[in-house]
């Protein structure tokens, strides 16, 4: 990166160093720095759990982390747990994808068309504030106790968040960039394609992440409510454990739900960080 020296003003001092010095073992140290606080937190939770068990509180039902994790380990050796997780994740994925399509289409229409904005915009916000579990009885009346009812609840949970994310993104397109785009002659569809949609991406991604959180919650609520004959979902597994007062079984399921939530959230966070890094929105000091 050798610029013509004669061209360099004081501003060349602003240039970031070309390549970050690759110190050997840096990657490993970085991974450890990120991991140890999390490991510590998990150890703390398990420690408190074990202590509570040792006090003998609710002795008849409460089990310590040891039995629960060995039960979970046992279940992981069998296909049944994986089939249950597989079925639930399938519902989550289908519901989320449909919500993604509907939310994005509605979002872009509402963002573009004034009268729609005034009318539908407030409805979307209203829907987003509604706890999606209240849709479950409505869905059962409408579809019966089947997968359509579950998907309906998931879509209504995730869709509004995704639409709102997109609308916010369009609204917060920097006016200066809009001026620049219009000077370049971008109008109508091309203005959206080359300027407004790319500019909306960070807010849209935030909407997608929030949409996933809503989808996951809605799905769990719907599965607790809606039993499909011959099909075991995570939610129904939890209901079954509740009926049997099976503390270890219920705890195993809760751990599964927790871990899936974390894994997906990590994916979204990684996408968000990489997007912000590419746009220079990341504080370089914080990124290291």
């Amino acid at each position: 990166m050798v610029a013509d020296q004669a061209l360099r003003g004081l501003d060349s001092l602003e240039l970031p160093p070309d390549q970050r010095a690759q110190v050997p073992g840096r990657r490993g140290r970085k991974a450890w720095a990120a991991a140890w606080p999390k490991l510590l937190a998990v150890a703390l939770v398990l420690g408190v759990w074990e202590l509570v068990t040792l006090t003998g509180w609710k002795k008849l039902v409460l089990k310590g982390p040891g039995p629960v994790f060995s039960d979970l380990w046992q279940q992981m050796q069998h296909g049944a747990l994986w089939a249950t997780i597989g079925w639930t994740m399938r519902s989550a994925l289908i519901g989320y994808l449909v919500a993604l399509v509907i939310g994005s289409v509605v979002g872009i229409l509402v963002a573009r068309i004034g009268p729609l904005r005034a009318g539908v915009g407030s409805i979307i916000t209203g829907l987003q504030t509604m706890p999606s579990v209240v849709w479950a009885p409505f869905a059962i009346i409408l579809f019966g106790e089947n997968n359509s009812a579950i998907l309906f609840v998931v879509i209504l949970g995730a869709g509004p968040a995704i639409a709102n994310g997109l609308i916010n993104g369009v609204d917060y397109t920097p006016p200066l960039l809009l001026r620049a785009g219009k000077t370049m002659g971008l109008r109508g569809i091309t203005l959206y394609r080359f300027l407004i949609l790319p500019a909306s991406l960070p807010a849209y991604l935030a909407g997608l992440k929030q949409g996933w959180a809503f989808a996951w919650r809605s799905l769990m609520a719907a599965e607790l409510f809606i039993a499909i004959i011959g099909q075991v979902s995570i939610g129904q597994q939890l209901v079954a454990d509740q009926d049997l007062s099976d503390f270890t079984g219920a705890s195993s399921v809760m751990i599964v739900i927790f871990v899936i939530g974390i894994i997906v959230d990590t994916v979204f966070t990684k996408a968000d960080v990489s997007l912000r890094r590419r746009r220079g929105l990341l504080d370089p000091a914080a990124a290291n």
Partner: protein, 288 residues
């Protein structure tokens, strides 16, 4: 779509011209300068009694009041005035981003490019892609774009930086990319709204030289808004002084071009001092 072939008629005698003669510069009234090149040049921009008010009724704000101005092809006109004098409004009107409340703005179908104090580059695109998007918006076929992009970046001496994103460039480099992008529109008229206002003096000085070189390589007409009197004296063929709220032309100076000026040359200092005095007068008039 090219301009009509109107001829420039020297505007009526303005007081500023004589002030410059006193400053030791052989100033003349109007557009015709020493080598007489203005005499047979076409008009690039003509504003006729242009007024612009924002809002309606008693609370409306008059930003420009009866501004008449003609700029010849290839002329470099600096517009200077205190903040709030409607400089940016004037450029928006010429760029066609806004409509005047009264009067006429004509550019004879010339392409108009606009540069701001902020580079306003699209942060999700590399420097090269930013320039290429402008080519695309202009309708340049895909096959020609890479070569043209490289050429334009070379013009602003950033050939080696095509793959860098805006946040990886220094402030001065970003303004160069913005300049390349404006040139990509094949603009005949370049409107610059305090383009170097955010840069340090050393970088600004370099970019003055660059801008002068680029203007001489292409017949560019430039309307350059600044609040820096030295910058105006350094760059302009003509300097227009605007009053504040509403913006009116209070003074017009023609500066004959005798080779390259230096920002620290006595001529530029002298002109700058006179401009400053006149601006002070104007501010004093407003303050009382």
């Amino acid at each position: 779509m090219r301009a009509s072939s109107e001829q420039v008629t020297p505007p009526a005698n303005r007081p500023g011209a004589s002030a410059l003669s006193a400053a030791g510069l052989t100033g003349q009234t109007g557009l015709a300068d020493q080598d007489g090149r203005a005499g047979d040049r076409n008009i690039a921009v003509r504003l006729t009694e242009v007024s612009k008010a924002y809002g309606a009724g008693p609370s409306s704000l008059l930003a420009l009041d009866g501004v008449s101005l003609t700029v010849a092809d290839g002329e470099f006109v600096c517009i200077i005035g205190a903040s709030g004098c409607g400089k940016s409004t004037l450029l928006n009107l010429v760029a066609g981003l806004d409509k005047p409340t009264a009067g006429q703005v004509e550019t004879g179908g010339r392409r108009v490019g606009l540069m701001f104090q902020e580079p306003a580059l699209f942060p999700w695109l590399t420097a090269g892609r930013n320039v290429e998007l402008a080519l695309r918006a202009r309708g340049v076929p895909r096959s020609q774009r890479p070569a043209l992009t490289a050429e334009l970046l070379e013009t602003v001496r950033l050939g080696a930086f095509a793959g860098k994103r805006p946040h990886e460039l220094s402030g001065g480099m970003r303004q160069r990319v913005a300049m390349a992008r404006a040139l990509a529109l094949d603009a005949d008229v370049l409107l610059m709204d305090e383009p170097f206002g955010a840069l340090d003096a050393m970088t600004r000085d370099l970019l003055h030289d660059e801008l002068e070189r680029i203007c001489s390589e292409r017949t560019l007409t430039v309307l350059f808004v600044t609040h820096n009197v030295r910058e105006a004296a350094r760059l302009g063929d003509r300097v227009i002084l605007l009053s504040s709220r509403p913006g009116r032309i209070i003074e017009e100076y023609t500066l004959p071009r005798q080779g390259q000026r230096r920002i620290d040359s006595p001529e530029v200092s002298e002109v700058a001092a006179r401009l400053t005095d006149r601006l002070r007068e104007e501010v004093g008039r407003h303050g009382s």
